[in-house]
């Protein structure tokens, strides 16, 4: 608690900035979720319990596309696999033991990891994790709820909200496309999905695209390519 005030103030300021961005993102999630056919309660369960943006969007996209909603489970879980890997650096920073693991785990997402690992001292890293996590969680819920209420009030396709999900996915994807390998994997994922559209039930094309990541990841490691960690925004 005795972090030099200027450093803590800077972390807090950055965390609030990320939180406001998350609120806007959460509002688009809430609106898209409700307009796609989820109830307000289902939308809020996703935001409160799943609490990881890309998986939530993917869940809604696949669950409401016309196939079985169960296909949305592997789609969202595969997208959430990266959160498990954030546990490696974060365990070193936070040393969660026993019951503390249970609530620490909930806040392990793109933004908290990026904020924590970028600080200079162990104390600042812990502070950055919790400040970002708690602020972002509150504003994500507020945004989701507001968006869901707006999504119920207007006809979503009249205001173009159906274009929001693909545009948001592209924005999420964009920073990682700086890497050549990632560009190939992105093209491969889209190609696999397109080929499977007429052949498989809805939802399957997206899940099958995971195989491209598997092939790409194993190939590039054989080539000994340097690993560049990139954290896309939620």
């Amino acid at each position: 608690m005795d972090e030099p005030p200027p450093e803590r103030a800077a972390i807090l300021k950055a965390a609030i900035g990320i939180g406001l961005y998350a609120m806007a993102f959460g509002a688009s999630f809430g609106a898209i979720s409700v307009s796609s056919g989820l109830t307000l309660a289902q939308t809020m369960v996703l935001s409160l319990v799943m609490f990881t943006g890309a998986s939530q969007f993917a869940f809604v996209g696949v669950a409401t596309a016309g196939g079985s909603p169960i296909a949305a489970v592997p789609a969202s879980l595969l997208l959430g696999v990266r959160n498990a890997f954030y546990g490696v650096p974060l365990s070193e920073i936070l040393h969660p033991h026993g019951l503390a693991r249970l609530w620490t785990a909930h806040f392990v997402i793109d933004e908290t990891t990026a904020m924590a690992v970028s600080q200079g001292t162990p104390r600042a890293r812990r502070y950055a994790f919790w400040a970002t996590g708690l602020i972002l969680f509150c504003l994500w819920q507020l945004g989701s709820l507001t968006g869901a209420l707006i999504g119920r009030a207007v006809n979503p396709s009249d205001v173009g909200l159906d274009a929001a999900a693909p545009a948001v996915f592209l924005a999420l994807l964009w920073p990682s496309l700086r890497r050549r390998e990632a560009r190939w994997v992105a093209l491969g994922g889209a190609a696999v999905a397109l080929v499977l559209v007429p052949l498989t039930p809805t939802g399957i094309p997206v899940i099958a695209a995971a195989a491209v990541a598997l092939v790409g990841g194993l190939r590039s490691s054989r080539a000994g390519e340097e690993r560049i960690p990139d954290r896309e925004p939620k």
């Binding site: 890997f85 909930h106 690993r227």
Partner: protein, 103 residues
Amino acid sequence: MTPLWLAVVVAAVGSYLLKLAGVSLPESILNHPKVQRVAELLPVAMLSALVAAELFDGGRRYAVDWPMLAGVAAGVVALLLRRGFLEVFLIAIAVTALLRLVT
């Protein structure tokens, strides 16, 4: 419980358990470079697949909604111009809504 509710609960709890596994499993399992590379590429492959599906999946056949496609294309232009997430979002829905209004 409807299938949609069941899917919501299973996916939400499963997502939490993935996070819990990350802070609970022995580091050696997750710290393998090959495993980490696959984990990093998973969102790339799946998000692009989601975009393709949103734009062209008409349920076991191809289908395109032109105003929506144009809106997303406008979003890509915004991304190329290094605009932030919020602007990309607003441009995509505004272009789609405008095209629906005039066609």
